[in-house]
């Protein structure tokens, strides 16, 4: 019988919580539940480091290491090799990092990990800016988004993480969203079984940084998927499959309008972003059907 007084449910400790409406908590609770206790996690400083806990108290019930911002993939590589050198091929070593720690400062060590074929599952929860330090822009921030370091709106398109992962020809990588938890859990399960590197790119809505009501996280993510701004797909043994096909893409404006970070984009900019998003979507559809 589950006892609330002594045990929290799942692998996150009692009393640990992210900001209201944050997608990250939903992601990590589901990820850890699927992976189970035979898991070692590397978390860099950033929003998710709160799960490492504070002082003598840990925020999760599995083994883990809080790394530095740029080397989650390297720590995970070393841990995985250390286990293997002692005959432990069963513990899943994962990294759980944000977009800054992955696509900016951590890209080099991630590339090394993927190229060497390390037995590591790398999970990037992507809230599209440096939220922990105060909403500064990252290479994962979308075109037009206002952040504290792109006050006039970002001039560049979002960096393509899965494109980079696929270029390394790793056995498995996929995108996921909290709007479809069964799909997310299925992908975590698949990634767990992979021998070699795997990567999950999960959209992580941030009410504080994106500027929307904390009750709207799921709605925002649903509109992201429906408009093609966040495409759910997976790449497995060289084959790309679209997970959620959208019959007719919704106008991108439906997604943008919910969030203050896109306030101030003019019609031309919205058209530019929409054209880019659709082009990306159709390219993926073409690859999936080729």
């Amino acid at each position: 019988m589950f006892n609330l007084n002594t045990e929290s449910k799942g692998y996150v400790s009692h009393g640990v919580s992210a900001c209201a409406g944050c997608g990250m908590e939903l992601i990590i609770r589901n990820v850890l539940e699927v992976l189970g206790e035979d898991t070692t996690i590397v978390i860099p400083p950033g929003c998710s480091a709160l799960f490492c806990g504070y002082g003598i108290e840990s925020g999760i019930k599995i083994s883990g290491l809080q790394g530095n911002l740029e080397n989650s993939a390297a720590y995970a590589s070393g841990i995985s090799r250390g286990y293997e050198a002692q005959g432990n091929f069963h513990t899943k070593v994962i990294a759980f990092a944000g977009d800054g720690g992955t696509l900016d400062i951590g890209l080099q060590s991630l590339s090394g990990m993927m190229e060497r074929g390390e037995n590591v599952l790398y999970i990037c929860y992507d809230n599209e800016a440096y939220m922990n330090t105060g909403i500064q822009g990252s290479s994962a921030s979308p075109y037009g988004a206002r952040t504290t370091t792109t006050p006039g709106g970002k001039k560049q398109q979002k960096k393509d993480l899965l494109g980079i992962a696929m270029a390394h020809n790793i056995p498995y990588c996929a995108s996921a969203s909290i709007v479809n938890i069964p799909d997310l859990r299925k992908k975590v399960k698949k990634a767990r079984e992979v021998v070699g590197p795997s990567l999950l790119h999960i959209q992580c809505p941030c009410p504080t940084g994106w500027g929307y009501d904390t009750s709207k996280s799921i709605e925002v993510c649903r509109n992201a998927v429906q408009s093609g701004a966040w495409v759910l797909y997976e790449y497995e043994d060289g084959k790309l499959t679209i997970s959620t096909k959208i019959k007719e893409l919704k106008p991108l404006k439906d997604y943008l309008i919910l969030q203050k970070r896109f306030d101030g984009m003019n019609d031309e900019e919205i058209e530019t972003l929409e054209a880019y998003v659709r082009e990306q979507y159709h390219q993926l559809m073409d690859i999936a059907h080729s």
């Binding site: 206790e37 035979d38 898991t39 070692t40 590397v42 480091a49 490492c52 806990g53 504070y54 002082g55 840990s58 925020g59 999760i60 019930k61 599995i62 083994s63 883990g64 290491l65 809080q66 790394g67 530095n68 740029e70 080397n71 993939a73 390297a74 720590y75 995970a76 590589s77 070393g78 841990i79 090799r81 250390g82 286990y83 293997e84 050198a85 002692q86 513990t91 080099q108 060590s109 590339s111 090394g112 190229e115 060497r116």
Partner: protein, 400 residues
């Protein structure tokens, strides 16, 4: 039985790592360390060493992988030099702060800029406060011996502090010398298997390592590291003594040579010490009362032991193979000056930067200067620098 081999300093490191049965290796090539990375991968490929080799994409990842792997409970190996060590800076502090006792050869090389491939101590001196023990080697035998002893020192429960084994680039790393190599069984007995005495990543007994820690605890945790350094001195003396008994070669934290009745001595680090001993012998024959005091352990700095070795000697010349910009002197001088009484004259000499040879002439100049000195100088003396023309070379000239 132990046997003789002809090895260069890098290969001596590899020999010691192999015989200490490292299990995970992460290395990134950099001159003059590269042959360490190559030879280790070769041993793994030929199955002469049962280890996992991680061909990392940077020195930062080399150290990160080593930390991650060693936290699971295995002895690891990596090595670096120069800007590679500088790139590791951030995670060097993680290794020491988490008390992960990694032993790492640092093949001393100048730091950019300007680019230089050659030896000085700027790289390791820049890391003197990173919480690593630093031992400096005189010759290839010393490299091999120091490596073996370093595992014992670093991993000792009283110490739990990583060790840099510093060997001068090219002067030692690429210099072939005859040395005595121990038998595997002797090394197994001396170094022993790796056991974790502190933090461990273990899914069966889960903890989260290295989380955010408050100011209510960090001062005390740093104090623990300081105590580790304090205790390291005793542990080193014990390990040196045991090594001496087993292998017949003696070592101490500070080593005096012909210091008896000396009027002046040079304080040295690393490979220059051999040349200085040679000059001391020559000058002694001519009637000069000179000697040399070699610092083996720069971190922890053996101040009390140094004071004892100096005894009643009144003139001390400190050769720093690094610049010490903006300070009253370079690092070795600062430590020495702080360790000795005010009635001892301690002068600082900068020499041997970026591979400039510290030859017999340079050492004689230092001895003659210190013998003739009646007071300390306000700033270091750049003894082998063409100070008269220095400001006229290259771009500096245009703006001065």
């Amino acid at each position: 039985m132990a046997h003789y081999k002809m090895l260069d300093g890098n290969t001596a490191c590899v020999e010691a790592m192999k015989m200490s049965r490292v299990k995970v290796i992460s290395a990134y090539p950099i001159t003059p360390q590269s042959t360490i990375a190559e030879k280790l991968s070769d041993l793994v490929a030929k199955e002469e060493l049962d280890a996992s080799y991680i061909r990392v994409e940077s020195e930062h990842s080399a150290m990160s992988c080593a930390i991650g792997a060693q936290l699971t409970g295995v002895r690891t190996a990596t090595a670096t030099a120069s800007v590679g060590l500088a790139l590791m800076h951030e995670v060097l502090n993680v290794a020491s702060g988490l008390r992960v006792p990694i032993v790492m050869p640092v093949v001393n090389r100048s730091l950019a800029s300007p680019w230089s491939l050659w030896c000085d101590h700027q790289d390791s001196m820049a890391e003197r406060d990173s919480g690593w023990i630093q031992l400096y080697c005189e010759n290839v035998q010393d490299v091999y011996d120091t490596m073996l002893m370093s595992y014992r020192i670093a991993e000792h429960p009283d110490v739990l502090t990583p060790v840099m084994v510093c060997l001068d680039g090219f002067f030692l790393s690429h210099s072939m010398q005859k040395l005595v190599v121990a038998e595997q069984v002797e090394v197994d007995e001396f170094v022993g298997e790796y056991t974790v005495n502190n933090l461990k990543l273990d899914p069966a007994d889960p903890i989260v390592i290295n989380n955010l820690t408050g100011s209510n605890e960090i001062t005390e945790m740093k104090y623990q590291q300081a105590v580790g350094f304090e205790k390291a001195k005793k542990v080193m003396q014990d390990v040196f003594a045991e090594f001496g008994r087993k292998f017949g070669r003696q070592k101490s934290l500070v080593e005096g040579y012909r210091t008896e009745d000396a009027e002046a001595v040079i304080i040295s680090l690393g490979s220059m010490s051999g040349t200085i001993k040679h000059v001391v012998n020559e000058l002694r024959e001519k009637g000069y009362k000179v000697g040399i005091v070699k610092i083996v352990s720069f971190r922890p700095f053996p101040a009390a032991e140094l004071k004892e070795v100096i005894g009643t000697i009144k003139k001390v010349a400190v050769i720093d193979r690094t610049t010490g910009f903006g300070g009253q002197g370079a690092p070795l001088w600062m430590e020495t000056r702080a360790a000795l009484n005010q009635n001892v004259l301690v002068k600082n000499y900068i020499a041997g930067l970026a591979g400039r040879d510290i030859h017999t002439g340079t050492i004689e100049k230092v001895f003659f200067d210190i013998l003739a000195s009646e007071e300390e100088s306000e700033k270091p003396i750049w003894i082998d620098c063409d100070t008269e023309n220095a400001m006229k070379i290259r771009e500096v000239y245009k703006y001065v």
